[in-house]
Amino acid sequence: MDFAFNRNATTENKGAAEEKTFSVGTDTGSTTIKPPPQQSEVPETVGNPFLETDPRMTCRNVNVYYGDKHAIREVSLDIGRNEVISMIGPSGCGKSTFLRCFNRMNDTIDGCRVTGSIYLDDVNIYDKSVDVVPLRAQVGMVFQKPNPFPKSIFDNIAYGPRIHGLVRNKAETDALVETSLVKAGLWEEVKDRLDHPGTGLSGGQQQRLCIARTIAVGPEVILMDEPCSALDPIATGKIEDLIHELRQQYSIVIVTHSMQQASRVSQRTAYFHLGDLIEVGDTPQVFTTPRHPLTQDYITGRFG
């Protein structure tokens, strides 16, 4: 006794597709980009990638090319204030590439070309007049592997504010180092050994040190590229708690391979597939009633 069970996404999908008002088709944009004929059409994003109220960052028709490879296709997405948005998808789907667009980290890669627009508040960060050094302070990044500088804990935090001219004297530096470490939940653990090398901390502590370092230069947005994949469950739990707290003050974009992590920490989830933004929605909706079959197949582990 067995029955064929519908593996497709929910039937409400049909109705939802009709009410969509936004199209990301290749035919709507400028004609300067001509995709090769064999390239598939860019699918419409399911769900609403836009926010009604005052987004922190707005991406419109973003394309990324690595040489001939079209790594991100016509992605439009808003990042809200005080929200954590997680970007999920299989390896090679472009989520990290897209994340790196937010502070122009892709500029450092040879042959990488970005088109479309990304606004931080009212500034197009891809405008020629934008200096990437202050941009990367405004849009900070935490990497997969904790990468503290080979310096003391204190100097790891103080380095950024000093070069950005955010502190004028020792007292200000001390205060900023302390508040940054407090915000990153590390102060109690390291306050008695600020002169010890940052590399001597445990993996989880190093990652929180990196978060403190990011916070110290006064960012608006924090990008996290798999911040917990090198950490044990306890350290991961601490970072996740920290993400919840940091949301009160910053916008956070997190790329993660752990779907449980995405569902635990984020308010919105974006699913990427082969360079396309397939679905965006409130995290509870995406994980209980995903509307696109690809999203469903990926989060239920039925992919490929």
Binding site: M1, D2, F3, A4, F5, N6, R7, A9, T10, T11, E12, M259, Q260, S263, F287, T288, T289, P290, T295, Q296, I299, T300, G301, R302, F303
Partner: protein
């Protein structure tokens, strides 16, 4: 890992469907017991209820295991939640069958009265609702599930009819009030049984549509 989860989900599917078949059989027996005042069948319903109880526990344990070990999401999560709820409804239907069987035993000990109310149409309707709701689950059929929900009103109407008839009969035969109350309870149990079938249909709709349609929200 996903393949293992799918295998486990298939196992649960089979289990909940055999429980469904077992409960359906009990409801069919209940109809027969009520219609013929059949003491032997009624006794059998009472004596074998443990089988349903045991299977219910088994299904629930399987579901808890999957929740803990696989943390399913999306359709898999909805499936597990639906099964847990349907499982509960099926067990309650089994209990209602036992309740009805007990009424039949009580009634059959007393002298039979002239025709008061024919329960067969009501029992058959409840039986059909259960069958349809389980078919809706098996065939992932939303339309059929919605049909079950509309049928519930008919059963409710029959219950009201039974109530009026029996009330009148009590007035005419006050000395048979015990017998008649027992008779009326059967309508109450049948109506509850149909409610559980309706719940199953609503859960099937949630499973397929991802939308909760309980409490008249459809």
């Amino acid at each position: 890992m996903a393949r293992y989860l799918i295998r486990e989900l298939d196992k649960i599917k089979k289990k909940i469907l055999s429980l469904g078949a077992l409960v359906e059989e009990r409801v069919r027996m209940t109809s027969a017991a009520v219609d013929n005042r059949d003491v032997a069948i009624a006794q059998k319903i009472i004596d074998t209820d443990w089988e349903i109880d045991e299977m219910e526990v088994e299904v629930e344990e399987e579901c808890l295991k999957i929740l803990a070990l696989h943390q399913p999401v999306a359709v898999d999560l909805r499936f597990i939640v639906t099964v847990i709820k349907i499982n509960n409804d099926l067990e309650r239907i089994g209990d209602q069958a036992v309740n009805i069987a007990e009424r039949v035993l009580t009634i059959s000990k007393r002298p039979e009265m002239d025709f008061v109310f024919d329960y067969l149409p009501m029992a058959e309707k409840a039986e059909a609702m259960l069958k349809m709701s389980l078919d809706a689950l098996v065939n992932v059929d939303v339309d059929l599930a919605f049909k079950v929900i509309t049928l519930d009103d008919e059963v409710d109407a029959l219950k009201t009819l039974a109530y009026d008839r029996i009330k009148a009969a009590i007035k005419m035969n006050p000395e048979r009030v015990g017998y008649l109350i027992n008779l009326m309870l059967i309508s109450r149990h049948l109506e509850r049984l149909a409610d559980h079938a309706t719940n199953i249909a609503e859960e099937v709709i949630y499973l397929i549509e991802g939308e909760i349609v309980r409490h008249g929200k459809y």
